[in-house]
C-alpha cells in the first residue's frame, strides 16, 4: 500500500500521525495553488477533505476505499494558510463507511468541513491517498 498519490504530491500535501493517533494532512500554499485574484481555490479544500477522510479510514480500518459521495461546506477563503485537516469515522455499515473531515487555518479556525461516504474496495490498490 503506497503512502501517497501523485496528486497528493502535486498539490504539496504532507501527511503525518499526531500524538492522538489521528491522520493530519497539512498544506503550505504555493504560488501555483492560488486563483487569479490570489484566493484559495475551493478545489484545494475539496482535495484535502477527500484525502484526509479516505486516509483516516485506511489507517484506522486498514481497508482500501474509493469515494462514493462527498458533501462540503466552505466557510472562509480569506487567508492563505498554512492549512491542516483531520477526519474521523462516523459510521460503518458493511462495505460503506462514512467519515467527516475539517480543514483548519493556522489559527485553528474552521475554513471547510465535509462528510464523505466511502466504499470498501475489493482490491488493495484502490486505497485513497
Amino acid at each position: 500500500m503506497r503512502e501517497s498519490s501523485s496528486f497528493f504530491e502535486h498539490l504539496g500535501f504532507h501527511k503525518y500521525i499526531d500524538r492522538d493517533g489521528r491522520v493530519i494532512l497539512s498544506l503550505e500554499v504555493k504560488p501555483e495553488n492560488i486563483t487569479e485574484d490570489s484566493t484559495i481555490p475551493s478545489g484545494l479544500f475539496s482535495s484535502m477533505l477527500d484525502t484526509v477522510i479516505g486516509s483516516t479510514i485506511g489507517e484506522t480500518l486498514q481497508v482500501p476505499t474509493s469515494t462514493v459521495n462527498l458533501n462540503m461546506n466552505y466557510v472562509d477563503f480569506s487567508n492563505n494558510g498554512p492549512f491542516s485537516a483531520h477526519a474521523s469515522i462516523t459510521h460503518k455499515d458493511g462495505k460503506m463507511i462514512v467519515g467527516e473531515g475539517t480543514v483548519l487555518d493556522g489559527e485553528d479556525k474552521v475554513v471547510a468541513k465535509g462528510v464523505g461516504t466511502f466504499k470498501v474496495s475489493a482490491r488493495d490498490s484502490d486505497q485513497k491517498g
Binding site: F8, L44, D50, K128, G129
Partner: protein, 136 residues
C-alpha cells in the same frame, strides 16, 4: 463598485489562474451559460489506485459550476456548498465537464454539472450553492 466584465474578460480571468494551469484544465468553449471544460488525465492527477483522484473530480465540477455562473452573471462568486456523487473511475484520455444554473437569485445561485469520459459516460455529478460577490 461592482464591475461588469465582458465574456472574454471572464474567460481570461479563469485562464490566468495559476491553479487552473497547475491542474491542467483547458477551456473548449466559453459562451454565456454554455461552457465546456476539458482535462487531459495525466498521471500527476492520480490517486494511489492509478485513477483520477477524487479531489480532481470535485475541483473540476466546482470550476464548471463557477464558470456557468460567472459566464452568465459576469459577477465573481464563491462556493458555499458542493455535493459530488462519484459514478466511475478514470485513467488516461481526457474528461469533459458541463454545467448549468438551476436557480439564480440576487446573491445565491444553485448550479449542477457533470463529468464525462471520451465515450460520453458520466463519471461524476455534482450540485453546488454559490454566493455572488456583490458590493451592495
Amino acid at each position: 463598485m461592482e464591475v461588469t466584465k465582458t465574456i472574454g474578460e471572464v474567460r481570461e480571468s479563469f485562464e490566468s489562474s495559476p491553479f487552473f494551469s497547475h491542474i491542467g484544465f483547458e477551456i473548449v468553449h466559453f459562451e454565456e451559460g454554455n461552457v465546456l471544460l476539458k482535462l487531459p488525465v495525466h498521471e500527476k492527477l492520480y490517486n494511489v489506485n492509478g485513477t483520477l483522484h477524487g479531489g480532481v473530480h470535485a475541483t473540476m465540477i466546482d470550476l464548471i459550476l463557477g464558470m456557468a455562473i460567472r459566464s452568465t452573471t459576469k459577477t465573481r462568486c464563491t462556493t458555499m456548498n458542493l455535493n459530488i456523487n462519484y459514478l466511475a473511475p478514470a485513467s488516461g484520455g481526457e474528461i469533459q465537464a458541463k454545467g448549468r444554473i438551476l436557480k439564480q437569485g440576487y446573491r445565491i445561485v444553485t448550479a449542477e454539472g457533470e463529468l464525462y469520459d471520451q465515450e460520453g459516460n458520466m463519471m461524476a455529478k455534482g450540485i453546488g450553492t454559490f454566493k455572488l460577490i456583490r458590493e451592495d
